[in-house]
Each structure stands twice: as C-alpha cells, then as structure tokens.
Amino acid sequence: MTPPPRPSLLERLRDPSERLLGALLLAPTFALLALIVAYPIGRLLWNSLFDLRLTGGGVPRFIGLENYQLVFTDPDFWNATKNTLLITVVTVPGALLVGLGLALLANLPFKRRWPVRLALLLPWALPLSFAGLIFAWFFHTEYGIVNDVLQRLGLAEQRDPTMWLLKPGWAFAAVCLTIIWKTSSFMALILLAGLQMIPKSLYEAAEVDGASPWQQFWQVTLPMLMPSIVVALIFRTITALQTFDIPYTMTRGGPGNATQTLAMLIHAHTIDYLDMGYGSALAVCLFVLSMGVSAVYLRQVGRQAA
C-alpha cells in the first residue's frame, strides 16, 4: 500500500486541518497587531539609536546608545521621572478612594438613578485638556474661583492672594487634585459595575449573621470588589504614568519644571525641539517604566487568581 499523495496547498486551504484553521483565523489579528503595535515599537527603538535632529536638515546618523547615555545624565529626565512617579503615587490611590466613594453612593437605592449616573459620567466625558484649562482658571491668582471663595470665607487676605500655580508645591497639588477629579469617575464606573455583580443574598446572609454595615463593607463588599479594583488600578496606573494633558494645559510644566512629566518632556523634545532621536530614547524609557509597572500588577493578579 502506498500512502495517499500529500494534498496540494490549495486543497489544504480548502479543507484545512484544525491547526491550520486556527492559524488562519489568527493571522489577521497577528497582522494587525504587528502593524499597530510591533512596528511602531520597533521603529521607536530603531529611531532611538540615531542622531535624528530635524532642525539640522541633515541625514540621520547612527550613534548607538549615545541618546540613552544623554538621557541618564539629563537632570530634566530625572526630574520628570520623579514628577511622573509622584503623580502616579498620589493620584492613583486618590482616584481609587474618591471613585470608590462615588460608586458606593451611586449604588444606593435612589428612586431615579440616571441623574446620579450622569453626574458620575460627566467628568469622564470631558476631554482632559478641557479639565486642565478649567482648573487653571479655578486656581488663577486674581480671576480664580478658589481664591475668591477663600476670601469670601475670610480664609485669605485680598491683598495677598495665594499664587497657586506659581508655587511648586501648590502647583503640584493643584495638578494632582485635577487629575483625581478627572479620573475618579472612570474608577467609579468600573467599581459600580463590580458592585452590581455582588449578589444580594450575600448581604442578606451577613445581616442574618448580625454583621453591621461597616462589617458588611469590609467582609463582603471589598473582597467581592477586589477583581474590579485591580482592573481599575491597572488602567489608572498606566494612564497616570503617561500623564500629559492636564499639567500641560494647567501649568505648562511650571513653575520652572516643577510639574513637568515624562510625557511632557518627550513632547518638548520631539514636537518643540524636533529632536526625534533623543525623544525616542525618552519614549523608550517611559515604555520600559510602563511595562515594568504593568508586569508587577499582572503578577499580583496572577497570584490572586491562583
């Protein structure tokens, strides 16, 4: 007996094996991912190895790791990294706490739920740069509502108003406050969805066992909500590391560079200074930072799932 002849490629495609079918079905996804993820990242890494200053009009020159050497000796880079990490450390837990409060509030049995939900959604629906511009007006020394209210309450002198956005500490706090306001509604949305997944029977059982509302929150709500919290934290942390719009529109990174983030530094070098090589090296650093933080989170999630 001779084995049957190997089917031709066309025949195999017409009647694919399970493995081949799987590969075929995955191919478009892989192609798309390669195009929109792998290629840009590869290109970024490649660009970061060149002297790519568009202002000179010259030809790109391969300089190996020189851009990275400059990055690591650049005080601006370390300042921006410090600011970015500080913003992350302050605004992620801040938004989580405020968001959790909002979600719990929105989950109360209101007669009409839509106004609550709408109020929850609004800050999220507002573009980031709008939020930055609006809050910049709030904190303006002379025209801002913050100083106006403080003066009306007698908490501040009209002669000597606080210059919120001109003092490094206050400017940083104002930026963080704006980010928390803006992002906590996204947190709240995810957490609200999580809250509604918790079966009522658990609370009924807890009540039967004589648990106070406080105990119910710690023993039922919070553990059941954990998966939602982790998801929300991952999203929020990654976007916090990329913070750009709000400090850019509020303070321009000022005073000096007290509120400049990594993303703003990248923007300055690529768009303002047209130094694509150096900007790419900075972007690679931000990419590595984001990947590192995500990896830590994902390991935590993996451990929890196990």
Partner: protein, 431 residues
C-alpha cells in the same frame, strides 16, 4: 483627507480622464484654476486683513483662488502646529506666515523653498526693507522669507494720568518705577487702589524671552555674537531680572506677573487698570479701536526705557511670508508672496490694522500717519531694535529662556540660579 486617500483619488481621476475624456479637455482642466492655501497665524496677525490682501490678488489674477487657514493664538502654539505639518512634509499648505524667530530654524530644516529664483538675489530683494528684516530672513545667503509686517515692543502709557499728576514721560526703568509709584499712590488715595504700575509678560510664553532680554540689552550688553554664539554677561542678566523683581517688591508690577500673558496685558490695559504696559505694536489698534476699550484717546506710546547708564533697547518682532518646500505650486506661491510683501500691502496693513510697516517710506505716508500718528517715530525704534538669537534650535533656546525667566519671576528660583541655568543650558546649544 490623508495623503493616501488623496493619492488614490488622484489615480482614479487620472484613469477616468484617460478612459473617458478627450485629450484636449484634460489639458484644459490642468490649465484651469490654481488653488493656493495660506497659513496666516492667529488673531493678532489679523487674518481678516490678510484675507483682504488675498481678495485683491484674486481679483487681479483670475484663475488663482487662495484659501486661508488660521490657528495658534501664540507664537509657540503656531510653531508647534507648523513643526508637525512641515515634519510630515505636508503639501496642503503652500504659504506660511511665520514669526521672525523661525526662518533660521525652518530653512535649516529644509522646510522652506529658497525664493531667490523667484524674486531675485538676497542682496537686491532686501534693499527697500528695514535692514533688521534682511538679517532674519536671509539664511546662508538665501532668501528664506519676505517680511509681512514689522513689530517691536513699545511702552504704552496712560497719557491722561501722567498729565493729571503732572509727571514727565520716563526715560529709564528707575524713572518709570518712581513715576508709577507716585501715580499709584495718588490714585489709591482717590479710591482707585487697583491700578497696576507696569504690566509685562512673565508667563512662560514667547514674550517672556523679551522680558528677559529687555533689561539685559538695556545695559548695552549683547546676548549673542554675529555667528550666533552665546555671549551672556551673567551679572548683567541677574541685574536685569532684579529690575523686574524690584518693581514687584515696590508694588509697581503685580505679584503674579509670572502668570501674565500678552492678552492679559492688553485686556487689563484696555480696562484702564494699568499705567504703563510693555507690548507689541498690534496692541495700539486694540486700545484705540476695540469696542470695550476704556482708554480710547488716553493712550500714548514711547520707546522702551533704558537701564540707568545704558541705552533704550527693544525686542524686534514681526511676521514673514515663506513658501513651503513641499508646495506643489511654488512659482504661483512665490508670486503671491511677492504681492503680500509689497509696499502696497504693507500700507494696507498699517492703515487698517496699525501693523508696523516693513518699508521705511510707509511709516511717514500721510494715510498711515493719520491712523497712527506715532508711526512717524516708530521706524527709528524698529530700526534700532534687536533680534532675538537666530538659531536652528530656536524652539529649545526660547523654551529655556522663557521657562527660566518665568520661574525667576515666580520666585521659585533666584535670579542668580536662573541665570546660571540659562548659561549652562544655552552654552551647549549656541556655540
């Protein structure tokens, strides 16, 4: 429309033309209207008047239609937008109006078409213009752009208040501070406690570059040599910044000066809250004509004061017309630029918008002087004015100067720290 879809549409159109039309109609189509697109800056660059110039041109050149695009309220916002468009080698815009600080950078990057072939060599073309514009628009001996209108920083002041308190016009910054304190004290006694002595730009915007340079130049010091190398005299720079901080301490300049942008100065002066204001030439028209101006007929203009023992120095500004290196209609665009940069156009901008002329004779033109009497003296101020450093890396130079100046004015850095930082950073860029 993206480049790709535009190309696809073009290919389709060509195929259709080949398949269905007679050869002669295809020729007629290409010989038809030329469409040009002009980027003409933000509101302060008066796109309404540019539109008038374009309409003039269209009427005289049938077959040419010109679209106008505006955007970017400030010079650095425009620079960001144009950098993006030009880095992408976008051919959609044929002509750009650019700030005086940009020709070196844009030409160096290969974004601007040298105009020599269309308008003649630089040595000839710039003869009729104010000389300072030849310096900034000729890069490596080539015509990079032609001047649209001139600008410089002036000292605006409330004529009525100086007359009321019988005080002379100040010649130095110290005199200005003393005058302002007297007027402020007298006005406060009369119930107007909110009068600012001097309004200047301390926010980290392009104007803050001039805020740094004015009291420095005013001591007779140079910021850079002819080759563009940094020649910063650090003690003089510290003294310059201390001039402003001293005025803040005296209550002449308001405390939050590091928040003040160009429009803030304009609006607060218009509202009658300011005695002296440093601003560009365009502000005259706003004080004089704006419906909400409270100071109509009460405004005077002076050359900027000098530092004690120094000389008056101003920051030269102004806007230029340049042809994109990526334009598909360079010859037509260059022809239009020639019209836009003509004495006739300069006069129209001066008469209707009080935009400073780029030609000496236009300053003393009867129609112009009727609109803005101070123009007859303004030419001398512009001619004596100084250019900000020309650098292919101007974007970064400007960022360093304005960010640091603003931080010093916000008192997050001492003047000495700020000047050390400027020196250390610029020394690498301007060598």
């Amino acid at each position: 429309m993206t480049q790709l879809t535009r190309r696809a549409v073009a290919v389709l159109a060509c195929t259709a033309a080949v398949l269905w039309s007679q050869p002669d109609t295809a020729v007629a189509q290409t010989a038809g209207a030329t469409k040009l697109r002009v980027f003409s800056g933000g509101q302060n660059q008066r796109p309404d008047l540019v539109r008038k110039l374009l309409d003039q041109y269209q009427a005289r050149n049938p077959g040419v239609t010109v679209e106008i695009e505006t955007g970017g309220a400030t010079s650095e916002l425009q620079r960001q937008y144009l950098s993006t468009v030009l880095t992408a080698k976008d051919s959609a815009i044929d002509i750009y109006m650019i700030d005086i600080v940009n020709p070196a950078q844009y030409f160096g990057a290969g974004w601007l078409e040298p105009l020599d072939a269309y308008v003649g060599p630089a040595s000839e073309v710039f003869k009729p213009y104010l000389p300072v514009y030849a310096q900034s628009n000729v890069v490596d001996g080539k015509v990079a752009a032609l001047p649209a209108f001139a600008d410089a920083m002036f000292l605006y002041y409330r004529k009525d208040l100086l007359e009321k308190h019988k005080l002379p016009e100040p010649k130095t910054w110290d005199e200005l501070a003393a005058t302002a304190r007297k007027v402020q004290a007298a006005e406060a006694a009369a119930g107007n406690a909110n009068l600012q002595g001097l309004s200047l730009q301390g926010a980290p915007i392009e104007g803050a570059v001039c805020t740094f340079l004015l009291p420095y130049w005013g001591q007779g010091k140079e910021f850079n040599d002819a080759a563009g190398r940094l020649t910063l005299d650090k003690p003089a720079a510290v003294k310059g910044l201390n001039t402003w901080l001293g005025m803040v301490d005296q209550g002449v300049v308001k405390k939050n000066v590091a928040e003040v942008k160009t429009p803030d100065t304009v609006n607060e002066f218009k509202a009658g809250q300011v005695l002296f204001a440093i601003n560009w030439g365009f502000a005259w028209d706003r004080f004089k004509d704006d419906a909400d101006s409270q100071v109509k007929g009460k405004v005077g203009v002076l050359p900027l004061p000098a530092m004690a023992g120094g000389r008056s120095a101003t920051c030269v500004g102004g806007w230029q017309w340049a042809v994109s290196a990526f334009s598909k209609h360079k010859a037509e665009a260059a022809k239009l630029v020639k019209h836009l940069a003509s004495p006739e156009s300069s006069k129209l901008l001066a008469v209707e918008g009080s935009l400073l002329p780029t030609y000496q004779p236009v300053y003393t033109d009867a129609d112009v002087v009727r609109q803005a009497p101070w123009f007859s003296q303004a030419a001398a101020v512009v001619v004596a004015g100084k250019s900000r450093p020309m650098s292919a890396q101007y974007g970064q130079v400007s960022d360093i100067l304005r960010t640091t100046t603003s931080a010093v004015l916000a008192r997050t850095k001492t003047p000495a720290e700020g000047v050390d930082e400027i020196d250390a950073r610029l020394r690498r860029l301007m060598r």
